[in-house]
Symmetry: C2
Subunit: 361 residues, 2 copies
């Protein structure tokens, strides 16, 4: 099984039912993805044989999360080279199709660019580069965890939004990685998990990850954050990022901005954890970031498990009322206490970001 090979090579940390897993990996020409739409009720692996199928997986959020999207997009680009190594038009079209699946995700563009360039010399190089992106993603997650752990005091009560755990990457994650390392170091911590409507990645994925890792936590409605902060129940907030602009503005899951504003009001540190690949120096500020608007169906419908063990998709709001569903928001740099990266912790400032990007590692 390809998985085992990857494990031996990459020293995988995360376990599901006692077995080590990555979020995304490749077996031959097939991209394998943990199906995140099936979680938390079913654990299954989606296998896509073509770049188009992988695009479908990204678009339909079978794979989601900045880092995992990046890795999947890299593999999709490699798949395109494998499908038609000599057809420049096909490759070009594939590149555009992959890039258009999720327009806010910086890691997607970064990965596609790298694999596309590597593929100019040979298909094997494209494939190697895609694997390298996944491997770096794992390393980056581990390093973010080690740096971020330094910020977590003993008995810390943290809040996190959406899912920036290992499911959002290839392993470890960004926002949750410091929490995993803190747990590894024996710290006694508690995590408040924002539900993160409409897709509830917090309640469904982050809670699933934390329960797997036996980390004490509670799911809270997105509405409860400011109240808990006001009551002195939150010591720090850590979130991930989908894109970080050159000036330190952060695009992340819708609702991040509300938490950041509330945190500033109550004097609570607000950290953004992300690998350097999330930083886009070509993007001067948050206002330049395209915010993806997703279907109103995501607001109107919820999929869940009945008491009989059946999965039902049900309408949970007034039939016939329109809904509006922006998927991300932009948190101005002034609300971010620090950015935790795989190269260290920096202030969300232009010069610090530039220096970080120029670091030789």
């Amino acid at each position: 099984m390809g998985l085992v090979m990857i494990n031996e090579k990459y020293q995988v940390r995360m376990k599901v039912n006692g077995e080590h897993y990555l979020t995304v990996w490749m077996e031959g020409q097939t991209v394998c993805l943990i199906d995140q739409n099936a979680l938390p009720f079913n654990f299954s692996v989606y296998r896509s044989k073509t770049y188009m199928e992988t695009c479908h997986a990204i678009r339909s959020m079978i794979v989601r999360g900045a880092g995992a999207i990046g890795a999947a997009a890299g593999y999709a680009m490699a798949q395109a080279f494998m499908e038609a190594p000599d057809d420049i038009d096909f490759i070009q079209k594939a590149r555009l199709t992959i890039e258009n699946t999720r327009p806010t995700a910086q890691n997607l563009f970064y990965a596609v660019q790298r694999v596309y360039e590597a593929g100019q010399t040979s298909t094997q190089n494209a494939l190697t580069e895609a694997g390298e992106i996944a491997r770096e993603n794992i390393d980056d997650g581990r390093k973010i965890g080690e740096y971020g752990n330094e910020l977590i005091p003993e008995k810390a009560r943290l809040e996190t939004h959406c899912n920036a755990g290992w499911l959002a990457f290839v392993d470890y994650g960004s926002a949750l990685s410091p929490i995993y390392i803190a747990k590894e170091k024996g710290k006694d911590i508690f995590v408040y998990v924002d539900e993160t409507r409409p897709r509830a990645q917090g309640a469904r994925l982050t809670a699933w990850e934390l329960k797997n890792e036996k980390i004490p936590h509670a799911i809270i409605p997105d509405n409860a954050g400011a109240h808990l902060m006001q009551q002195g129940k939150i010591d720090m907030i850590i979130v991930g990022a989908d894109r970080i602009a050159a000036n330190g503005d952060v695009a992340n899951k819708i609702g991040t901005l509300e938490k950041a504003i509330a945190a500033k009001t109550f004097g609570i540190p607000f950290y953004v954890a992300a690998p350097v690949s999330t930083i886009d120096l070509d993007c001067p500020d948050g206002a330049s970031i395209t915010i993806e608007e997703r279907s109103e169906e995501e607001v109107h419908y919820q999929t869940g498990l009945s008491d009989k063990g059946e999965i039902h998709k049900v309408m949970v709001s007034n039939p016939g009322s329109p809904a509006f569903n922006p998927a991300f928001d932009v948190t101005p740099a002034s609300y971010v206490s620090a950015i935790i990266t795989n190269r260290g912790i920096i202030k969300p400032e232009k010069e610090a970001i530039k220096s970080l990007m120029n670091m030789v590692t």
Copy 2:
């Protein structure tokens, strides 16, 4: 039908399927309530023959919303007098039971107190007083609407949280009443409706009300508020209140605080609409308000309509993860631009509140 009598007497505004309705009314010894747990998928009336059944209706949120809870509690107290007019112990126990159904709702205590006192002279007086509370509630709603309408500019884009519409009162409502009057006056307005997890009173009840009244609106995830404010898409916010302290601090549905903080950050007026009966002069400030914590089931489960037209209750979050569910939060007076009451619009300040309470009307 008792309903028609009430209509003739009280000049009811709201219509469902072409017929006028109140949220709560009495027919003989039976309290009739629009079943708000069945909405928006089914419109039905719950009939409770005893005060205990009415308590169940309040506790299980068949009736909810500050004003409607008050009216239902008043009727429940009157029912207790009708059930055992000469049994002082029974009446005392009933009073405590009713008061313990929803500890954050000021109108509940206010109504129970009034009906209890009226009942000291005769059961008929208790019943008359309960009817009077409902009638005042309707008048108050209309007046809040007329005052509040003055604050709504032509082409205003409003945001509201939870449901403070006619379903939350006996007719008209608090936060939605100014919107109904603005619409009546021919103003072109648009309402962003916060979903309001975990019970989704916005997506289920406010959206249902606005659609009935043909007012343009869109449901948004609770996470989207600050983003829309940042984008300049919200001109004003109006919410209701469950209790207003003597210093102007406001207890309202969980999530209100986040919107208030975001509104202040982006310089958007944040109005609280409530009848004077919501003000509790005995409560010095928000810190003194008991915040009800509700079951974690409300976070874990959602009830909705399948494509086959069946109602299913499904688990929507990770099985086995704990959840935390505070039902209200407290918005400090400093975040409230003004309080819209049935006696006029005031600043959320101690002296202004005191003067308002002492007004002879």
